[in-house]
Symmetry: C2
Subunit: 204 residues, 2 copies
DNA sequence: GTCTATAAAAAGATAGAC
DNA sequence: GTCTATCTTTTTATAGAC
């Protein structure tokens, strides 16, 4: 029962708790948005009182900020794992959406928080502005490297990147409301064929 | 001061007030979302007390329902007015986005409420499910009539419609956060060229 | 039709015991 | 580290005066 020197049990327990709280918070934000979420509901999910949660995160905004940071961390992991098995950038995107179609909670948290962030004084506004700008830059670079000098169908790489993100977001919105009517992965592949017909992303 | 029989002054005033309240409510929902909006803020905008508003709409949900109904009414007006001057369906869409780029408030109300509607028990959930389904059907029909039997670039008319709506929504999200970086009308035209290269929507 | 007063509930946050 | 108790504010909604 004595704590090993290099990694004190208290710390590990502390960090574990924090992560558990953040995971629960992401879930609750997905279900109810940031405004609709309450600290008490998050607390209940992890078996704590409201004040138990406030011990780890001083207030609701701080909780959201840390949820978004964790999301970035997870996204990076998923991105790298997915990129491993994908031959091309377009394949990678198709795989990513395939994966997302199995994680409605994650998708919903993103969709709801991103849209909410455009409202007045929303605490995640700057986060999403930066995140979209960064994603546009990253995808632009990936498309440039992949598709070489000539833009696909006369569409600049940057415009293709912006449109790609728009399609991803927009399909998620429709899919969340009508999962049976909107085949998100198939529709993304259709769009990918539009911007680059030759290198078809192989379905499954 | 006696009321004319056919159209009592009280009625007219009553309806005018209602409309003024609904317009203010749409504004507030755009700025803060449904959850973040309060009846008191809406009341302030129209120079009434909170209870003044509740005299016209019994509760917050009813207010939202009527805002959405008004939106449908306005949309129909704008749609018809825009369709007048547009030669083709794709032209019409380009014009519509051009118009929307001048009305950030309207766009924001739609984006925020639509995303919020995917959350648990949201009062506008069914409205948006129906609305998206209806819009998909309408656009599909328009594309079929317009582009004839052969689907554009091998993409079915229905898939093209779904993707079109996705692009519209997704571009709005990015444009609302970074209006200077995202040229929404130009990007929509680029997408329209992708699905139908021959009939280019003329810029401006 | 509009207001004041007020009830009733919800939610964020602090203080302090254990 | 976690809880109970409590404060404070906000917000929806009702009751009733004018």
């Amino acid at each position: 029962m004595t704590r090993p020197p290099g990694r004190p049990q208290g710390r590990a327990g502390h960090e574990g708790r924090r992560t558990a709280i953040l995971r629960a918070a992401l879930e609750v934000f997905a279900e109810r948005g940031y405004q609709g979420a309450t600290i008490a509901i998050v607390a209940e999910r992890v078996g704590l009182s409201q004040q138990g949660v406030l011990h780890y995160f001083p207030n609701k905004q701080d909780l959201l900020a840390n949820v978004l940071a964790l999301r970035d961390q997870n996204d990076l992991d998923v991105l790298l794992a997915t990129a491993q098995g994908s031959a091309t950038t377009l394949d990678f995107l198709a795989d990513l959406v395939e994966r997302n179609a199995e994680r409605p909670g994650i998708v919903q948290s993103f969709t709801v928080l991103a849209a909410e962030s455009v409202t007045q004084d929303h605490p995640a506004r700057d986060y999403f502005i930066d995140r979209y700008a960064q994603t546009r830059r990253m995808l632009t670079t990936m498309l440039e490297r992949e598709l070489g000098g000539d833009p696909p169908r006369g569409v600049s790489h940057q415009d293709a990147a912006t449109l790609l993100i728009a399609v991803l977001d927009g399909l998620q919105q429709q899919w969340l409301l009508s999962p049976d009517e909107v085949d998100m992965p198939a529709l993304l592949r259709t769009f990918l064929r539009l911007i680059h017909p030759e290198a078809d992303a192989n379905p499954q």
